[in-house]
Amino acid sequence: MRRIPNLVSSFALHIILLASTCIPFTLSQPSVPWKEGNGDLADQICKKTPFYDLCSSILHSNPLSPKPDLKGVALLMVNNILANASDTLSYIEGLIKSTSDRELEQALAFCAESYIPLVKYILPQAADAISQGRFGFASYCISDALKEINSCNKKFSGASQAPLGDRNDIVQKLVDVASAIIKLLLKG
């Protein structure tokens, strides 16, 4: 079932949106640099994920509670993915609206169908689960998230990779990082 997005955007507006949304997503509050002790924690954690730089830049540009722990970091990462995925979904919906290429439209619609449950259920439930200490459930949700993103990825190959650009790829890397962090939580 295809969702027709409501937003009407001109091409120019698209460019502006693109330019203003840079990865990694930053919260609107002023960033609080990690304290000495925290910096070690971020480093320790990110080293155990497959994308150290990405992980590190997110943790260092987002404020955390005074006593950050592994759980807080996992939560931050999942919320970050949720923000990125919501953003990507809006972008996909905008593209669907503005393209006249039927094949591209179908591929994009398929991706939208992967991103919608991601944004509506899977990522929020992963975040809830982490908050409640249900790390097994959280881990399962994250692997579901990866499945949905991969399934969208498969729709675009080679030349037609253009429309989503880096977005799907970035979300995938973020999920890989979150998955690694949650596995650390599971190890206890």
Binding site: P117, K120, Y121, I122, Q125, R134, G136, F137, S139, D144
Partner: protein, 531 residues
């Protein structure tokens, strides 16, 4: 023991007995299925509600038991029931309890915590039961409440199957709060001679649109389906008709094909089916229980019994306007591995053609058949029906596929069409058949021929889709206009020894078959990965 009979992608618990599907619903990103479950044995008894969830209705994860018989009003069995999703987000579960006195009553339960997407824990209403058998209805003739639907008067309706003497019928109750009910003056419908109606289901279908409908939808572009599981024959019947909300009655479009005397939902081993509305993908989805057809001794030996079908979408057949179309949910495609295509394979009378596809125990088969009349033969006479199986040959059939067969054809299950003679207006009556008579060399398994008539329109080719999964075969003719589910228990045609063939046992026609066949992966159904 007998482990080759376990299915790879059909829902079944790890061990023990299962029967009716209960309370299916979609909530918060998860599909839920509950089921009649005996945690202690591979035969019916000690009935609880088992519970499983899935994101896609294929990859299921087992959860802890949801309801156990622990109060006087269900101590002798937590029997079947249905879920209703309320507009404010609440969930109401109505189910039949078999009381300490063996009286059938209806009970109310609801999730303990709606913010738990897995709906693990359930609470029973403190003042159950909410319904007891009304005057004139026997204490053992009152069970299986449906999903509720709301009328223009803001009252919910629930229908419950029953009987009076040999007349099968369905009672209607109206309620605002699911606690206080008023019995309707009329039955929703009644059909003499059909006996007790179990697992009644009542739902709208769109006459012109592409989607399923929420249970409360009504209007000029809508017809209503009434379905009953007949206790006396253990068959699921349905009829399409019109619902009158003014007095909560329903009449069939064709009284000669009324509930219980006309169309069957499935012409094979199939019972206690139930639909639900999937609001995520706007489909009406049908669950059906497939019992074992081997011996109880074998079930106890192997430690498990029964399967659910692959869930099916249900739509009104716009072409015939007299049938429903059932089709496996599209998510079954996610199991596909390698595929094989065969174009216009000619099969001469009395011959069998092997299809080289590798392992043949987990398959999704799409087949189309064309008939070539042999000039020398003229127009011969065909049989009417499936006869006593695929050995029963005539001019125009049988022809089809042989599933779960071994190389020597010592075991085989034909799934086939058999056409009757051409009548004066050049139309054919088409039978669609599944023949279990040679499915196994074991002596203690059921070996029936399942028979159905399927309407074939003049612009349609003969087509079938068949899901094969070790000991279950689900066969769909003409896009799901007729369906036959069957259980097979081969002793030779197991694992790597199972094969697939084309066959033509007609005398006067060649068959040209085109097939697309997928190997299907296991669904790896397992317990939910809790911490």
């Amino acid at each position: 023991m007998l482990s080759w009979q376990r299915t790879a992608f059909h829902f079944q618990p790890q061990t023990n007995w299962m029967n009716d599907p209960n309370g299916p619903l979609f909530y918060s990103g998860w599909y839920h299925i509950f089921y009649q479950y005996n945690p202690d044995s591979a035969v019916w008894g000690n009935i609880t509600w088992g519970h499983a969830v899935s994101r896609d209705m294929i990859h299921w994860l087992y959860l802890p038991i949801a309801l156990v018989p622990d109060t006087w009003h269900d101590i002798n069995g937590v029997w079947s029931g249905s879920a209703t999703l309320l507009p404010d987000g609440k969930i109401v579960m109505l189910y039949t309890g078999n009381t300490a006195q063996n009286v059938q009553v209806q009970n109310l339960a609801y999730p303990a915590n709606l913010s738990d997407p897995l709906l693990l824990d359930w609470v029973k209403y403190a003042d159950n039961p909410v319904l007891v058998p009304p005057p004139g209805i026997g204490p053992k003739d009152f069970r299986d409440p449906t999903t509720a639907w709301i009328g223009p008067d803001e009252k919910w309706r629930v229908t419950i199957g029953s009987k009076v003497n040999k007349t099968g019928l369905s009672l209607v109750y109206r309620t605002k709060d699911f606690i206080h009910y008023e019995l309707s003056d009329h039955y929703l419908h009644a059909v003499p001679g059909t006996g007790m109606w179990e697992c009644v289901d009542f739902f709208p279908v769109s006459v012109n649109g592409p989607n399923g409908l929420d249970s409360s939808v009504n209007g000029p572009e809508v017809k209503h389906v009434l379905k009953a599981s007949l206790d006396d024959t253990k068959v699921d019947h349905y009829a399409i008709g019109t619902y009158f909300v003014e007095n909560d009655t329903w009449v069939p479009d064709n009284p000669h094909e009324d509930v219980g005397i006309g169309l069957k939902l499935d012409y094979g081993r199939y019972y206690a089916s139930k639909t639900f509305y999937d609001q995520q993908k706007q489909r009406r989805v049908l669950w059906g229980w497939i019992n074992e057809s081997d011996s109880e001794t074998a079930d106890l030996k192997k430690g498990w019994a029964s399967l659910q079908t692959i869930p099916r979408t249900v739509l009104f057949d716009k072409k015939t306007r007299t049938n429903l179309l059932q089709w496996p949910v599209e998510e079954v495609d996610s199991l596909r591995l390698s595929n094989f295509e065969f174009e216009e394979v000619v099969v001469k009378p009395g011959s069998v053609v092997p299809l080289d596809i590798g392992p043949a125990t987990q398959l999704d088969i799409f087949a189309e058949f064309e008939i070539e009349f042999l000039a020398s033969k003229g127009i011969g006479k065909g049989n009417v029906g499936c006869g006593s199986g695929a050995v029963d040959r005539s001019a125009l059939g049988p022809f089809g596929i042989l599933a779960i067969a071994d190389d020597q054809l010592s075991e085989l299950t034909p799934i086939y069409f058999h056409l009757s003679s051409i009548t004066s207006d050049a139309s054919l009556t088409t039978s669609f058949c599944v023949d279990e008579t040679r499915s196994s060399m074991a002596p203690d398994v059921s070996k029936l021929v399942f028979e159905s008539k399927v309407p074939v329109l003049s612009d349609e080719k003969l087509s079938m889709r068949v899901l094969v999964d070790h000991s279950i075969i689900e066969s769909f003719a003409q896009g799901g206009r007729t369906v036959i589910s069957s259980r097979v228990y081969p002793t030779e045609a197991i694992y790597g020894a199972a094969r697939l063939f084309l066959f033509n046992n007609a005398t006067d026609i060649n068959i040209k078959a085109s097939l697309k066949i997928w190997q299907l992966n296991s669904a790896f159904i397992r317990p939910f990965p809790f911490d």
